[in-house]
């Protein structure tokens, strides 16, 4: 079945340290992939997307993600984390436009 998997449920990172969130997908063709962020009590906000082209994608808030077909991965990275990055992060994807699958989410805690 087509799906998106986020292996890490919870990550703790120190402020100023780098962050990498993992996402694996299982779609046959080049998938449509997204990363969203959800702050407490809020809806989801799009950080970045990959449809085709350059495999390194830049997003908002200093985030980037790299599409690696050979590893079926679309990991999210940020070089230096700020306390405001504490939130839940969701990877989403699909094989065609329309209905997408969301991962279970990764909760990020930022320590001083």
């Amino acid at each position: 079945a087509q799906s998106v998997t986020q292996p890490d449920i919870h990550i703790t990172v120190s402020e100023g340290a780098s962050l990498e969130l993992r996402c694996n997908y299982s779609y046959g063709a080049t998938p449509y992939l997204f990363w969203y962020v959800q702050s407490p009590g809020q809806g989801l906000q799009l950080l970045l997307k990959y449809f085709s082209g350059d495999t390194l994608v830049q997003g908002i808030k200093g985030f980037e993600a790299e599409f690696k077909r050979s590893q079926s991965s679309f990991n999210l990275r940020k070089p230096s984390v700020h306390w405001s990055d504490a939130a839940e992060y969701f990877c989403a994807g699909g094989g065609s436009w329309g209905k997408f699958q969301f991962g279970a989410g990764t909760q990020v805690v930022v320590t001083p």
């Binding site: 809806g43 799009l46 329309g98």
Partner: protein, 112 residues
């Protein structure tokens, strides 16, 4: 511009009552989605509307759940004879073409 608006933001109801949740999508967006997010869980797809096509209802958990989208705009999610397990945050999203989704802040439903 106006984003996706959901009302009410919070709803407390008694077991067995019916509830209606409303979603006002971004003007001009042809696609509309409903998701359920239980405490500490990811997003559970419920239903997807795209233009005038028949909706994809494959995620509705039981026949107590139904949704309508009137005039290609406002959508209402109805839960009949609510149960305690229906307690969750219900998120609505709209999309211009069925790719990037823009989320509302959600309706938190509590069934006592």
């Amino acid at each position: 511009g106006a984003g996706v608006s959901q009302s009410p933001s919070n709803k407390v109801t008694e077991k067995g009552k019916d509830v209606e949740l409303r979603c006002d999508p971004i003007s001009g967006h042809t696609a509309l989605y409903w998701y359920r997010q239980s405490l500490g869980q990811g997003l559970e797809f419920l239903i997807y509307f795209q233009g005038n096509s028949a909706p994809d209802k494959s995620g509705l958990p039981s026949d107590r759940f139904s949704a309508e989208r009137t005039g290609g705009s406002v959508s209402t999610l109805t839960i009949q004879r609510t149960q305690q397990e229906d307690s969750a945050v219900y998120l609505c999203a709209s999309s211009p073409e069925g790719n990037i989704q823009y989320f509302g802040a959600g309706t938190r439903l509590s069934v006592l």
